[in-house]
Amino acid sequence: MTPALAVVLVLAVQKPVVVASKPFAESYVLAEAFAQVLEDAGFVVDRRPGLGATEIAFGALRAGDIDVYPEYTGTGLLAILHEDAIPDARATYRRVASEFARRWDVHWLAPLGFENTYAMAVRPQTAERYGLRSLSDLGRASPQLVAGLTPDFIGRPDGLPALERTYGFRPRAVRSLLPSVKYAAVAAGAVDVIDGYSTDGLIARHGLAVLEDDLGLFPPYEAAALVSARLVHELPAAALALSRLSGRLDVRTMRSLNRRVEVDGEDVRVVARDALRELGIVASSARVETAPRAGGGIAAYLWTHRADTARQLGRHLLLVAISMACALLFAIPLGLALERWRAGAESAVRVTGILQTIPSIALLAFMIPLLGIGILPALVALFLYSLYPIVRSTYSGVRDAAPDAVAAAHALGMTGGQLLRHVRLPLAAPVIMAGVRTAAVINVGTATLAAFVGAGGLGEPIVAGLALSDARMILAGALPAAALAIVVDLALGAVERAVRPAR
């Protein structure tokens, strides 16, 4: 057997190695580096970048839906094991490595070589005005400052609470900001101080000053590949290939890679390839396919990426169509049944309403252990979010449809089924359709979150664009999604007019 044939056979029978990342730039860069190292070693790779949050990425790894993603030892200790911070980086690594293997058969490869930690950043003019050089200075000046902090930082015991305790940090106000907007917020002066990571490229992009942690509060955390049981037990060669990165990325290298992605807007694939070549980890002849970078505005960008957009639009439509079809088949009969059974109706409708209030990221995270990642949890989430408007409108529409006419038709000998089919449903149809329209438009918008569980769709460029601070990429998902919402609304509006009975 020739080597080439052997490779083909291996590729044909092998389930791809699934490489994932969390939705921020450094995670994208590291995951892409993992993917290229694996491809260089002959493995087929399935990329799932931008998984919603720690719970979703780690949940997917535990469930065996993904094989590897970059994680930080501190996050493993505090956010996953829920233990107290350990000030020493090596001790932290040892703790998570042994606990993850013991509890879940999930494994930390040797650290990549750079430490990352929280970095409080301010604008230079803020630093000058209040004389801020260290976190002790920040603590002193904090009553005059407004802090813009990520929800993660506000909640983690080694975040805001620790900052309060150690440095007396008590800002005038704390605003909760998503990672993707905090830099813009501080640069615009909307907040005075933000939490970042020491390796963030955006700190340099916005010319922010990082304050020195003079009392050594934030323990340094190491980044490492977190790999699944399958990879370790069934594909040890893949784990071995990934470990070639261990100890090779120092903090300067990582910061410069992040800057190239976040500040210079370079393609993640190119940045990862260059880094791997420079480090001599992959041969310099290795090729990566990258889309040519489009100059100019959003129109040119969309045109360059039209094939991607079409694929994402197709997937988006699929998600919306299947989840809406299931929601209609379930919610309309439910609404009709509730109208027959009024005693429990309001409570039942309210339950579907409560579903609506569950934050989508939380709902998706709940479902990972049951459904894994990919299209299934996305469909279930979209289905659940579509129920309320349809159940409510069906129930109310049928209940309130011409009660006098219904009573008279009943008295003249219409059966319950005939009343429903010929009187109540036709008269309620416009109201029901209004609910269906509402549900469909919400569904098109919510389906962008499917990207957080690797289900694709127009959320893919939105999530990636937010993580990589690339406005055109965000618009490449947001504009088609908005257009789709309008088209869906218009189409269902036409259906609504068609089903509206003459009277």
Binding site: D404, A405, A407, A408, H410, A411, L412, G413, M414, R503
Partner: protein, 241 residues
């Protein structure tokens, strides 16, 4: 044999006794008016005849059948019914509304029956058949509701305050139209009304209801001449008849 019979019929709603052992017989092609205040039990008794109301005790027969023993849907298709508000289906044309019961009975002559029935209430099928109820006046709607009730030639016609929601002139016109209709069809009629004048004008006999019982049942003439109780006397005085 009586067309309609109620024997010792009792019905309570919670603590309220709506019907308290009522007995009433209506002869074929007779029109009996049930008169009384709100809550006196007249509408409850009307509903017993097409099983919209199920008595707790007592027996109801319609055209010889015990209503408890027959399929209520088939019973209702044999009994015409006119509610106070018309109750026309707003998304059906006048013709389709009037042809409702023939259609429910699976008959193919609905349009013809509808045209005849509209003619009986003084409306032209050519003019009104294709209209929707929203394009009719209140009086026209009530005429259509009466046409719908008689389109399948039911032996029994139940009317629940059919002219109660109309202005005085329209009501007078419809009362005349109804009297004319009765001359042309052969139906036993029970008419619920709170208007004693209307009862005297349209009915062969009048039953005065009070607190779930029939206070007096007689012809209009006898009722006026010999009120049986002080309540009936007072009712006559209030009505000014």
């Amino acid at each position: 044999m009586s067309a309609l019979r109620a024997e010792g019929v009792t019905r309570r709603f919670g603590d309220v006794v709506a019907l308290d052992g009522v007995t009433l017989q209506v002869e074929p092609e007779e029109c009996v008016a049930l008169v009384g205040e709100s809550g006196s039990g007249k509408t409850t008794l009307l509903g017993c005849f097409n099983r919209l109301t199920v008595p707790e005790s007592g027996r109801i027969t319609v055209l010889g059948d015990d209503v408890a023993a027959v399929d209520p849907v088939r019973l209702r298709r044999r009994v015409g019914y006119v509610p106070q508000d018309g109750g026309l289906l707003p998304h059906w044309t006048v013709e389709r509304n009037v042809a409702l019961v023939p259609w429910l009975l699976g008959r193919s002559d609905g349009p013809k029956r509808a045209a005849e029935a509209l003619d009986l209430v003084g409306l032209s099928a050519a003019t009104f058949g294709a209209r929707y109820p929203s394009a009719l006046s209140g009086g026209q709607r009530q005429r259509v509701a009466i046409a719908r009730a008689v389109a399948a030639h039911p032996g029994v016609l139940l009317m629940d305050e059919p002219f109660g929601a109309l202005d005085a002139i329209t009501r007078f016109e419809l009362q005349r139209a109804f009297a004319e209709l009765r001359r042309r069809i052969r139906a036993t009629v029970v008419l619920v009304t709170h208007d004693l004048r209307e009862a005297f004008l349209l009915a062969d006999r009048v039953a005065v209801f009070r607190a779930g019982r029939i206070e007096q049942l007689s012809t209009p003439e006898l009722l006026q001449r010999e009120p049986a109780t002080p309540y009936v006397r007072r009712l006559l005085e209030t009505a000014g008849v």
